[in-house]
């Protein structure tokens, strides 16, 4: 009843143009909002359509993990098969091998690539020469801007039998090592290249956080006789803790999706025993062998783990340190 009244009132206001509208005390209905801001809403048409087609349609397309999919037929699959494909990969030894490879590679990357930017940012923060600081920053950010294809190419060049690393090995009296053919070296090579590519750029947010720490805290600490190390431990680190927590949560969320493109470029069948991860396995069986439903089931499994990891990391950090993503 009240709704109709509001509408009537609106139509009346819309019809009689010159009377200045009273301050908007009435309910801000959709009809009203659309009439007033239709131009602004027209800005949303293309982006929302984009999200629907390229983000939400594929999300709904995950349904083929539960349905048999035939190329050329419906993109949502043909007949319901329940957890058939999930049982298929859970009972597959090959899947568990790539699963553990993913966990190990993700854990190594997190353990090494998460703390290093903090250390580097603290080191940069101790520099007095602004010029030198800027040079170090410029150089260390550079690898971030390279295509993964180039990074992979550089890795192959450095680790080849005649490459720099083997030149050093030979100079030290050893025999050249074919790094990219030995499963036991893959993780080292991968994590090293990740360090080279990401650590410099990773310092940016910490350096920004460092400039927001109140200078008076340091003065007070100095008066209390705290040395440089104690100042770092008791003021600097707590000061950048919120940044650390947020980045840690985000890193944990991408844990299962470890560098798909880079692993794909670096791996070869000789090193699958350590160098094959869920995402590359999924690519091989799902797209190259065209087992779409089976691959989607694995992908969905991976995405759900990622989501659960982010959400639980967020909850844990909110409870323990009071910082969270939202």
């Amino acid at each position: 009843m009240s709704m109709t009244k509001a509408r009537v009132a609106e139509v009346a206001v819309g019809g009689v143009e010159p009377t200045p509208a009273p301050p908007p005390v009435r309910a801000n209905t959709w009809r009203r909002a659309l009439r007033r801001d239709w131009r602004l809403y027209s800005f949303l048409v293309a982006p929302v359509l984009f999200l629907l087609v390229f983000r939400y349609l594929p999300m709904a397309g995950n349904i083929i993990a539960f349905r048999r999919f035939r190329p050329g037929s419906s993109i949502f699959g043909d007949e319901w098969v329940g957890f058939y494909y999930f049982e298929a990969f859970i009972n597959n030894q090959a899947f568990w091998s790539v699963f553990w490879n993913t966990v190990i590679l993700g854990a190594l990357t997190l353990l090494i690539c998460f703390p290093l930017p903090i250390v580097l940012a603290l080191m940069l923060n101790e520099l007095r020469s602004r010029r030198f600081k800027r040079v170090v920053q410029t150089i260390s950010y550079l690898p971030h801007f390279l295509s993964i294809v180039i990074v992979a190419g550089i890795v192959f060049q450095l680790t080849s039998l005649d490459g720099t690393i083997n030149q050093i090995v030979r100079a030290a009296g050893g025999d050249a090592i074919p790094f990219m053919q030995l499963p036991e070296w893959f993780r080292t090579v991968y994590v090293s290249s990740e360090v080279w590519q990401t650590v410099g750029w990773g310092t940016i947010l910490y350096l920004a956080a460092l400039t927001t720490i109140d200078e008076q805290l340091y003065e007070a600490a100095r008066i209390d006789g705290a040395n440089r190390w104690q100042q770092t431990w008791h003021i600097t680190l707590p000061g950048i803790r919120p940044t650390m927590v947020v980045l840690l949560i985000l890193n944990i969320g991408s844990f299962m999706a470890v560098g798909f493109e880079k692993v794909l470029l670096l791996q070869n069948p000789l090193i699958y025993s350590t160098g094959d991860v869920i995402s590359t396995y999924l690519y091989r069986v799902g797209i190259q062998s065209a087992q779409f439903s089976y691959g989607t089931a694995i992908g969905l499994f991976e995405a759900v783990i990622g989501l659960v990891l982010v959400l639980s990391a967020n909850v844990v950090s909110r409870r323990l340190v009071g910082a969270s993503l939202w």
């Binding site: 801001d37 939400y56 005649d162």
Partner: protein, 311 residues
């Protein structure tokens, strides 16, 4: 917040200026060690690039003998000539330029209009429109549903659209632009409306001209991403004439390292020619980025900080 960042005095300098006299011996030692370690980090970071340049100008024999590290040995430019005389290289290079330009234009159109709309506090349903974007950061369709959509449903196999459209909206960039646009007060729009401008007029004549910094930054983010991207092209394109240069390079590396190193021994010559050519191709691919990088670096940094402050 943008202005806050800019106005923040150089705290590091202030702090250290006060502390100069009272440095303990231990801290002085630390500073020397610190500077040394940072110098070493820089040298190690730069080394692969230097090595790449050295290999580009070296002869195959010297590379094979493991003599090339910092300085070119057996100096020659024939490899450059060989790579640059390959018409396919230039076709693919041109494709990269086209994909980068088209992709960036599409992405900027979607991102800036979306960001502007959700930055207006009076937009009804604002939280919904923000939410549907942010949710896609944490959960997505995965490789295969996306592949089926693009290749089967939209039929974009061997089409430029498969490379430039699906990645056209980065939520991170969207949120950065949104927080920038939030600095424009609603009153500004009301004043402009009284002067006879519609929302379109306000956006085109007032908001965009005042947002050059953030637009430059976002354009760069998208452009570098597209320039460097390879996987969607690798996935959806079979026609060599359509490849971007990154896929050209990927195939070169795969041919030289994958097959050759696995078989080993035989065909060592081919591997060396490969190493040579790879280095030159990598250098030519990365050259535009390296050349522009020193000038553009501050835009990237400011973009990331902008995003972190309000995220």
């Amino acid at each position: 917040m943008v202005t806050d960042l800019a106005k923040t005095p150089d705290i590091v300098a202030v702090r250290t200026a006060g502390g100069t006299v009272k440095d303990s011996t231990g801290y002085r030692v630390f500073r020397v060690v610190n500077a040394t370690v940072l110098t070493v980090i820089c040298l190690v970071t730069l080394y692969p690039f230097v090595n790449l340049v050295a290999k580009s100008f070296s002869s195959e024999g010297q590379i094979a003998a493991g003599n090339v590290n910092l300085i070119p040995r057996g100096f020659n430019t024939t490899t450059f000539q060989a790579v640059m005389s390959d018409p396919m290289f230039w076709t693919n290079y041109k494709n990269t330029v086209v994909y980068t330009v088209v992709g960036t234009v599409i992405a900027m159109a979607i991102t800036s209009t979306y960001a502007y709309a959700i930055s207006r506090p009076y937009l009804k349903g604002r939280m919904f429109f923000i939410g549907i974007a942010v949710f896609t950061m944490f959960f997505g369709g995965g490789l295969i549903p996306n592949y089926i959509l693009v290749a089967n449903f939209l039929g974009w196999r061997n089409s430029m659209w498969a490379v430039v459209v699906p990645g056209a909206l980065s939520i991170f960039n969207l949120l950065v632009m949104k927080s920038f646009f939030e600095n424009f007060p609603t009153e500004l729009e009301e004043a402009a409306t009284i002067d006879g401008l519609t929302t379109y007029g306000v956006f085109a004549r007032i908001v965009l001209p005042l947002s050059k910094a953030v637009i430059a930054t976002m354009t760069l983010f998208y452009a570098v991403g597209l320039w460097n991207s390879w996987f969607s092209a690798f996935l959806y394109l079979d026609d060599k004439d359509l490849f971007p240069v990154t896929v050209y390079l990927r195939n070169l590396i795969a041919a030289a390292t994958g097959s050759q190193e696995v078989t080993g021994g035989a065909g060592a010559d081919a591997v060396q020619i490969g190493a040579n050519i790879q280095a030159v191709t990598m250098l030519l691919t990365v050259l535009p980025i390296i050349c522009l990088y020193p000038f553009l670096q501050r835009y990237f940094v400011s973009g990331v900080m902008l995003g972190s402050v309000k995220g």
